[in-house]
């Protein structure tokens, strides 16, 4: 079924890296800007999401903490990692199929020789942050996310230069804040 097919595409590798381009759009069409950067995942719970343009922002998680560093804002905040690991995109990137299955109904919308499109609909809409998620795989590699959130905004993320199990320097998943900025260590909420 669709879940097994999605599982086969999202599991079987430990590390994942890609460049991304992202834009948000509301009902009246494109609204936000296009942001672009680099992401890397080292399963089970380390990831890096570095936006380069239009504003530099680094989001780095070593599995225990998540650091959010906004260069322009001259501020870095450390939060505990467990708050954000439940978000659907994090579950997808980490290949945590059981949790995904628990929260989302997975269907295979389209399938062709070199392309699959999956749709994820929340089983309990009130609790979900996204009303619909679509995943596009090209040649069995994740290449696009479409995330419709509950306020009618769609975030489209296009991946390029995707690498499965790339050689990654593990130090990219640990962050030390530069010394001339505001550093905040957030206690658990």
């Amino acid at each position: 079924n669709a879940l097994d097919q999605l599982a086969s595409l999202l599991t079987g590798y430990e590390r994942f890296s890609a460049r991304f381009e992202q834009f948000s759009s509301g009902e009246q069409g494109t609204r936000g800007e296009v942001t672009s950067g680099y992401l890397a995942v080292s399963r089970p719970d380390k990831f890096v999401w570095n936006t380069e343009t239009p504003f530099p922002q680094e989001i780095v998680s070593d599995g225990e903490y998540i650091w959010i560093y906004d260069t322009d804002l001259e501020q870095a905040t450390r939060k505990s990692a467990d708050q954000n690991t439940e978000s659907a995109p994090a579950l997808i990137l980490n290949g945590r199929i059981h949790e995904l299955d628990r929260m989302y109904e997975v269907t295979l919308l389209q399938r062709s020789v070199d392309m699959e499109v999956f749709e994820l609909i929340p089983k309990i809409p009130q609790e979900a942050m996204f009303s619909r998620i679509r995943l596009l795989f090209k040649d069995a590699v994740l290449s696009e996310f479409l995330l419709d959130d509950t306020l009618g905004q769609r975030s489209t993320i296009m991946l390029s230069e995707v690498q499965l199990n790339p050689e990654l320097d593990e130090s990219i998943f640990s962050f030390t804040p530069p010394d001339d900025i505001d550093v905040l260590y957030e206690s658990d909420r």
Binding site: R31, T51, P54, L147, S155, L184
Partner: protein
């Protein structure tokens, strides 16, 4: 607030075009810092005359956190993950209730352009980096001014501080 053209003090006359600008879209990053708690969000703020629409989103996937639509005296707000549409007279009270923080929207319409709200008294302060003033209990520092078009000088960085809450807005794009 009154609709008669604001009485600009002598020092503000040069900013007349900025006061008259009330059709703009601002895209930016904003950090909210309250004691040891802080969040950074993306802001899309569209102003059309006295009507505004503000989208707050956060996280790597730019998920919507909240959406406000309103004009002086009325605001509607939707919060991510909740069905209900909240309405109120002022955005500040509603945001505080729903998000635990609030953007001083009523004055912010002017502050984000780096000018004081002309309808309320203010005090200008010395600032080598830009232009700073105090108004309604807030201290505002606007800096990184750029010529957005021949007669419009707008800031790219606005810091707003009041009793432990510091809001820093970095504008990545002004769309007029």
């Amino acid at each position: 607030c009154s609709s008669k053209p604001p009485l600009l003090p002598e020092s503000m006359q040069a900013q007349r075009p900025v006061y008259d600008l009330n059709d703009w879209i601002l895209e930016g990053r904003m950090s909210l810092r309250l004691e040891d708690r802080s969040d950074s969000v993306s802001i899309h703020w569209q102003q059309k005359q006295r009507d505004y629409e503000i989208n707050v989103s956060a996280g790597p996937f730019n998920q919507s956190v909240a959406r406000l639509e309103g004009r002086p005296g009325f605001v509607e707000m939707q919060v991510a993950g909740e069905e209900t549409l909240y309405t109120a007279r002022s955005p500040e009270a509603l945001m505080n209730a729903m998000l635990g923080w609030s953007l001083p929207v009523s004055h912010g319409i002017y502050w984000v352009k780096g000018i004081p709200d002309p309808n309320v008294i203010f005090e200008t302060h010395e600032s080598e980096r830009g232009f700073s003033f105090a108004q309604s209990g807030w201290k505002i520092d606007a800096s990184r001014f750029e010529q957005v078009n021949p007669n419009l000088l707008l800031p790219r960085r606005i810091r707003m501080e009041r009793e432990g809450l510091t809001i820093t807005l970095i504008v990545s794009q002004w769309r007029l």
